[in-house]
Structure formats: structure tokens, C-alpha cells
């Protein structure tokens, strides 16, 4: 009994430490607070949630059965179904779920102060995101690795399946557009960033050739070679920046860069995967894991002070980065890192086909998401260690604070966040940039934050190098997501078109590949183009749209899970998914409603469209704005239609779930549970664990 007492003491102290860290973060006012408190709070909260809540869900709610053979064992084909060591599955799963989302969202949400976003990342993850990932992984494992769309169709009905498919397609388009915009904003008028990002393309192709032709399948050799070349490209970009002639080759405003990204997206989508996508992904995974580890080490070494206040006055909805009040917009802005519907697509489909034992579901589903939430906490730290004045100067679009540096600093200082032109110029010079004003999208401010943390921890002489390393780090996996997302969109479109014209459904028929890729690229290219010409920066429109669509996908996953729990006779435990589902329905409905009907032109799409129409008709718009106004008006109206579409999708599937649950409870027939039959495992754990 001695061990159990020491264990109780251990967990009590973790709880106590966690509570004081969370309390310290929440109640601290006026003074700066150390970043280590954030890490401590996260580690304690996540450890307790994993040890108790996740374990309880695994044992009691899901009744995970270690003796049951997994699909990987039963259907082992040496290809997609392969029983795999759980750490390896964890690595694959984490690499698949963690993209740029958890870095960008917290950075943008820091406009409310550090507190709201941090609390949402802490508790949204343990009660929402991790539960979603874990139960989806479990239910998909029990159904031979079926996708979310198939599960929604089998368990709820056709509406659920169609809603999942449509939401996935739309979220993909919006996601790619907003990520493209983030990269464009990081590269605009920056020869160093542009040349480095451009260099990643031939480097990836070279690595592709190496892995495919020169030394087939030797992915480690190829990746190491590629990472070295990437580091060289970061340094080389600095050199190019100082060559008067070369520099101009890479010095472009946003619009041509946007067209370059669109052209790149199309080329990447029709090239064979081995040439660009696959090698780029190896590189981005290596760089991502390395950089996140480095950032964690740097935060521990440096223990930086958080300079952002706990709450800013922008919780009322008047924020410069995006419009909308704390409720519901902090929960929309931070999707990845707290709860991300996209994960349910990974947790159903790829990962369940690798599990060697159901016992690993807690670690991979729940634990994988906890690690992503840790990344989001670090992104929040990197954003809030900056002087708030600097943070707002980088992230506020010119349309809000003014195009001239003097106007921008005057406006930001008037909000109570002092900053000077000299300070911004010095910072830009240290980072090797001409200017850092109005570099919206989150990537540049995150890079400045990371560079200052890295610089202070590992030597300040190389700030510009660190900054461009961070930009390269973000760009390389944004471009991977862009490429992979376009490809998925293409497959989905080909699938849909195949119903009308069977030849279009043949995924390798070249005319179909070209046509459907062009449509997908045109769709996200359109939103990217509008985002670039919008003087308010585009991020303020696209990011909330992305957040809403991602949360609605999460709601679909939680609907499917709740339906399955109720149908399995586990009504008394169904709150584990119904609770986060209710919260998501509340926040997405409120946010969508405000986006549709708000009179505030910074929030309501239709209000903004009408106001601009009136100004255009009255001739009060400045000429450069009047030129793009018709396109911006059309876009705002289109966005309103999109939000309405998302809202209808959400309520259709929620209604369908309620219908299925009530019918089941009243004893009426519902679609039967599609769980596969029990078969005992024959795998020796020792063999798999090896």
C-alpha cells in the first residue's frame, strides 16, 4: 500500500502545482509573468487529464479491450494495415495532425490578451479536442478504420455523410487560402524570405530525385541532405538580400507572390507525389519536430517574461487583427490547439490501421492532441513575449492603423501599447527586413517572437538568421499542407464528378486530374487573391471562416460519436462528447450568426458589403479602394452565403443526431451499430513492442 500512498501524494502535488499555476496566470494583473508558469500549468493540467480523465474514458466509457484483435492485425497487408509499435504510430499521428494551425491561431488570439486563449487551449483541449481525437480513433478502429464520412453515414444516415463530405471540402478550400495568405504576407517585399521559400522548392525536388532515383527509399539520407540544404538556403537568402541586383529578383509586393503561390499550387498538385510533395513532407516533418523541440528548450533556458497583459480592451470586439468580441471569437480563432475537427479525419482512416492494440488509443488519440496543445501554448508564449505595441504594429493591417509608420505607431500608442517608429525600424533591421509594419497573418510576429527567444537563449548575434529560419519553418509546412490539401480536394472533386461522368472519377485520367486540380486551385486561389487585395489584410475575414468550418467539422465528429455512444447503451456517459458538442454548437452558431447579421462592419459580412456599396455609390472611397470595391463587396456577400451554408450543415447534422438518439431511446429502429465482431488477438505484445 506504500506505493499507492506515495502515488496519491504525487498526484495531489501535481494538482496543487497546476492549480496554483493556472491561478497565477488567471489572477495576475499589472505585473509581468514568467512564461514558465504557462508551461507548468499546461504540464500539470495535461498530466492530470491524461492520467485520470483519459484513463476513465478508456476503461469505463469506451471499454477498451486489450484482448481484441485490431484491424491492423486482422487485415494486415503489409501496406496500409500494419501492426506498428505505439511510439511509431504516435510519431506518425502527431506529424499528421500538427500543422501551422496551432501556431497561427494563438498568435492572432493574443489580441485579447494572453489569458482567454491560454485558458481555452488548456481546458478546450482536455475536455474537447483530445476527447474528439480519442473517441474518433476508437470508433474508427472498431470499424476497420472507416473514415469519418463513412461512419457518419452508417451510424446516423445519409445527411451526416453528405455534411461531413461537404464540410471537409469547404474547410480544405478556406484553409489553403488562409495559409497561402499567411505565406504571402511573410514574403511580401522581403527578398530574404522570398528567396528562402523559393529555394525550398528545388531543394525538395532534389531530395525527391535522391529518394526515388539515386538511392530509392533511403529517406533518412535524403532528409538529412535536404535539411542541410534548407539551412544553407536560409543563410543564402541573407546573402542574396545584400546583392543589389539579385535582391530585386525576389522583391515583390503581395499580388505577384499570390499568383506565384497559386501557380505553384497547381503545378504541385499535378506532379507525381515523389517529385515534390513526398520529399517536402519529409523535410517539413524533420524541421517541425526539430524546431518545436528547440523552442521548448529555449523557453526553459531563457524563461522569458510575458509582456502582454492578461486581458486587453479588445475583448469588446474592437480589435485591430480581427473583429469580434471575446465570446465567441476566441474559441473560433483558436481551433487547432484546443479542438480541431480536421483531426477526426486523421484519427479515422490512417492511424487506426496501424494500431497493434486498442490499449494504445489513449496515448495516441488523447496524448497526441495534448502534445499539439503544448505547441499551441508555446506559440502563445512566443506571441506574448513581444512588447504589445510591437505585436500590434506587426499584426494590424494598414487598413486599420494607417499606411504610414507614424500614423500606425500613433494609433497603437493611443490604445495604451506604446511603440515608436525607431523601435520598429531597429527591430526590422535586426530581423533583416525593410519593414515589419502590417505583416498580418501571424507568421511574421511568431517568427519575431521565436527569433527573440532563440536569440536570447542561443546568442543574439544571429537574430536575422533566426527570424528567417522561423519563416522558412512555417512556410515549408504551410506549403506541404497547401499541396496535400489541393490533392485531397482534387480526389474529392473527382469522386463527386465521377457520379455525373464516370470518366472524371478515374483518379489517374490526366484530363480529369488537370480539370479537377484547376477547379480546386481556382477556388482557393480566388479567396487568396481577394485576401491580398483587401486593404484590411484578408486574414480578418478568412481566419474566422476557417475557424468556423473547422469547428463545424469537429461538431460533426462529435455528433457521430455521441450517436454511437447512445446507440451502444451508454447514454449516461454520452456527455463526454455531448458536452463539447453543445459548446461547439453554441460558439459556431453565435459566431456564424454575428458574421451574418452584425451591424458592425468589422464583424458582419453583409453590413460590410452594404456599407462599402453605399460609400462607392456616394463616391467617398479613395480611388485605389474604389477600384477593388466591387470585388470586395461580392466577396463579402459570398462569405455570408458560405457562413449560412456552414450553419445549415451544422444544424442539419445536429438535428439528425438528435433524431437518431431519440428514436433509439424510444425503442424505434435506427441504423444498427456498424462495429466489427470480436476476434481475440494473437499478437504477442513483446513482438510488436520491439
Amino acid at each position: 500500500m506504500k506505493t499507492s500512498i506515495s502515488k496519491i501524494i504525487l498526484w495531489l502535488s501535481v494538482a496543487l502545482l497546476g492549480a496554483s499555476a493556472v491561478g497565477g496566470i488567471a489572477l495576475n494583473r499589472g505585473e509581468s509573468i514568467n512564461a514558465l508558469w504557462f508551461i507548468t500549468a499546461a504540464l500539470c493540467v495535461y498530466a492530470i487529464a491524461y492520467r485520470f480523465y483519459a484513463a476513465w474514458i478508456a476503461a469505463t466509457v469506451l471499454s477498451i479491450d486489450e484482448t481484441r484483435a485490431t484491424p491492423a492485425e486482422r487485415l494486415n497487408n503489409g501496406r496500409d494495415y500494419v501492426p506498428t509499435n505505439r511510439w511509431i504510430v504516435f510519431g506518425h499521428h502527431f506529424a499528421a495532425i500538427a500543422g501551422p494551425g496551432p501556431l497561427v491561431g494563438p498568435t492572432l488570439a493574443a489580441q485579447f490578451g494572453y489569458l482567454p486563449g491560454t485558458l481555452w487551449i488548456l481546458f478546450g483541449a482536455v475536455l474537447g479536442g483530445c476527447v474528439q481525437d480519442m473517441v474518433t480513433l476508437f470508433f474508427s478502429t472498431r470499424r476497420n478504420g472507416k473514415s469519418l464520412g463513412q461512419m457518419a453515414r452508417d451510424e446516423l444516415g445519409a445527411i451526416g455523410g453528405v455534411a461531413a463530405l461537404m464540410a471537409t471540402f469547404m474547410i480544405m478550400i478556406i484553409l489553403i487560402a488562409v495559409l497561402g495568405l499567411v505565406v504571402v504576407n511573410a514574403m511580401k517585399n522581403s527578398p530574404w524570405a522570398t528567396s528562402t521559400v523559393a529555394a525550398t522548392i528545388p531543394i525538395a525536388m532534389l531530395v525527391g530525385l535522391y529518394m526515388y532515383k539515386l538511392r530509392p527509399g533511403r529517406v533518412l539520407e535524403g532528409s538529412i541532405l535536404g535539411v542541410l540544404l534548407l539551412l544553407l538556403a536560409v543563410a543564402g537568402g541573407g546573402w542574396i538580400d545584400h546583392q543589389a541586383g539579385l535582391r530585386e529578383l525576389f522583391n515583390h509586393p503581395g499580388l505577384p507572390l499570390a499568383f506565384a503561390v497559386i501557380g505553384y499550387g497547381f503545378a504541385a498538385a499535378i506532379l507525381p507525389v515523389w517529385m515534390l510533395l513526398a520529399p517536402r513532407d519529409y523535410l517539413s516533418t524533420f524541421v517541425k519536430l526539430g524546431t518545436v523541440t528547440l523552442l521548448a528548450a529555449a523557453i526553459f533556458l531563457l524563461r522569458p517574461e510575458i509582456k502582454m497583459p492578461a486581458l486587453t480592451q479588445f475583448i469588446d470586439g474592437s480589435g485591430p487583427i480581427f473583429g469580434g468580441a471575446l465570446f465567441p471569437f476566441v474559441f473560433i480563432t483558436i481551433a487547432c490547439g484546443a479542438i480541431s475537427g480536421f483531426h477526426s479525419l486523421i484519427a479515422s482512416g490512417t492511424t487506426p490501421k496501424l494500431l497493434s492494440n486498442e490499449r494504445d488509443i489513449r496515448m495516441i488519440g488523447y496524448g497526441g492532441m495534448l502534445l499539439e496543445a503544448m505547441v499551441a501554448i508555446m506559440a502563445m508564449i512566443a506571441a506574448t513575449v513581444l512588447d504589445p505595441g510591437v505585436f500590434f504594429a506587426i499584426n494590424s493591417p494598414a487598413g486599420v492603423v494607417g499606411k504610414e509608420a507614424a500614423d500606425a505607431v500613433a494609433k497603437i500608442t493611443s490604445w495604451g501599447f506604446p511603440v515608436t517608429v525607431e523601435q520598429m525600424n531597429l527591430l526590422a533591421q535586426q530581423m533583416g527586413e525593410a519593414t515589419l509594419f502590417a505583416r498580418t497573418g501571424g507568421a511574421p510576429s511568431l517568427a519575431v517572437g521565436m527569433a527573440s527567444i532563440f536569440g536570447s537563449a542561443f546568442g543574439a548575434g544571429m537574430l536575422a538568421m533566426w527570424y528567417h529560419f522561423a519563416i522558412m519553418f512555417e512556410a515549408i509546412f504551410i506549403l506541404t499542407t497547401l499541396d496535400a490539401g489541393t490533392r485531397v480536394g482534387r480526389f474529392m472533386l473527382q469522386d463527386m464528378l465521377g457520379n455525373i461522368w464516370p470518366a472524371m472519377g478515374r483518379t489517374s485520367w490526366y484530363p480529369s486530374v488537370l480539370f479537377s486540380s484547376a477547379i480546386v486551385v481556382a477556388a482557393w486561389g480566388y479567396f487568396l487573391y481577394i485576401g491580398v487585395i483587401d486593404p484590411n489584410g484578408g486574414v480578418n475575414i478568412l481566419w474566422p471562416l476557417f475557424g468556423i468550418s473547422n469547428q463545424i467539422l469537429a461538431a460533426i465528429a462529435l455528433c457521430a460519436a455521441t450517436g454511437i455512444l447512445v446507440k451502444s447503451g451508454k447514454l449516461r456517459y454520452a456527455w463526454i462528447t455531448a458536452l463539447p458538442l453543445t459548446w461547439l454548437v453554441i460558439i459556431t452558431s453565435t459566431a456564424s450568426w454575428q458574421k451574418l447579421t452584425s451591424d458592425d462592419i468589422r464583424i458582419g459580412f453583409l453590413a460590410a458589403a452594404n456599407s462599402m456599396s453605399d460609400k462607392l455609390a456616394a463616391g467617398t472611397l479613395p480611388p485605389e479602394k474604389a477600384a477593388v470595391a466591387p470585388q470586395l463587396i461580392f466577396n463579402q456577400q459570398l462569405d455570408a452565403v458560405l457562413v449560412l451554408f456552414f450553419l445549415v450543415m451544422l444544424w442539419l447534422i445536429v438535428g439528425d443526431t438528435l433524431r437518431v438518439c431519440f428514436r433509439h431511446l424510444r425503442g424505434k429502429p435506427v441504423p444498427p451499430l456498424a462495429e466489427t465482431h470480436y476476434q481475440e488477438t494473437e499478437l504477442e505484445r513483446a513482438w510488436v513492442r520491439d
Partner: protein, 65 residues
């Protein structure tokens, strides 16, 4: 001597994990599986296997936001 052996073993298993995690040993694992499951047919060559593998890996949603 014992610690040195342990260190060597730890390094070896780390290397093993890195190879497995990155997929570097994928072809060897494929050959093993093939020999066990389909002993009567010749396995794919390294290059064909890699092409197949990449094609399959990038079908469906494999990367998130």
C-alpha cells in the same frame, strides 16, 4: 563494461526507432512481410516499392492544418 554495453544497446535501439519512424527501413519491412505472406511471388524492386508506397501514402487526408 556493463554501462558501455547498455549505452551501445540504447544507441542501437534509438537508431532503430529513428529508421522506423522515418520509414527508412520500409523496404526491409516490406520484404519481411512479403516473404511471410506471399512466398510464392517475387517481391517488388526497391524503386517500384517506393513508388507504390508514396502513391498510397498520399491518397486521402494525410496532413492536417
Amino acid at each position: 563494461m556493463g554501462t558501455r554495453l547498455n549505452l551501445l544497446n540504447a544507441a542501437r535501439s534509438l537508431w532503430h526507432s529513428i529508421r522506423e519512424l522515418s520509414g527508412d527501413d520500409g523496404y526491409e519491412r516490406y520484404l519481411q512481410h512479403h516473404a511471410a505472406a506471399h512466398p510464392d511471388t517475387p517481391p517488388l524492386s526497391r524503386i517500384d516499392w517506393f513508388a507504390h508506397e508514396q502513391q498510397q501514402k498520399w491518397t486521402g487526408v494525410k496532413r492536417c492544418c
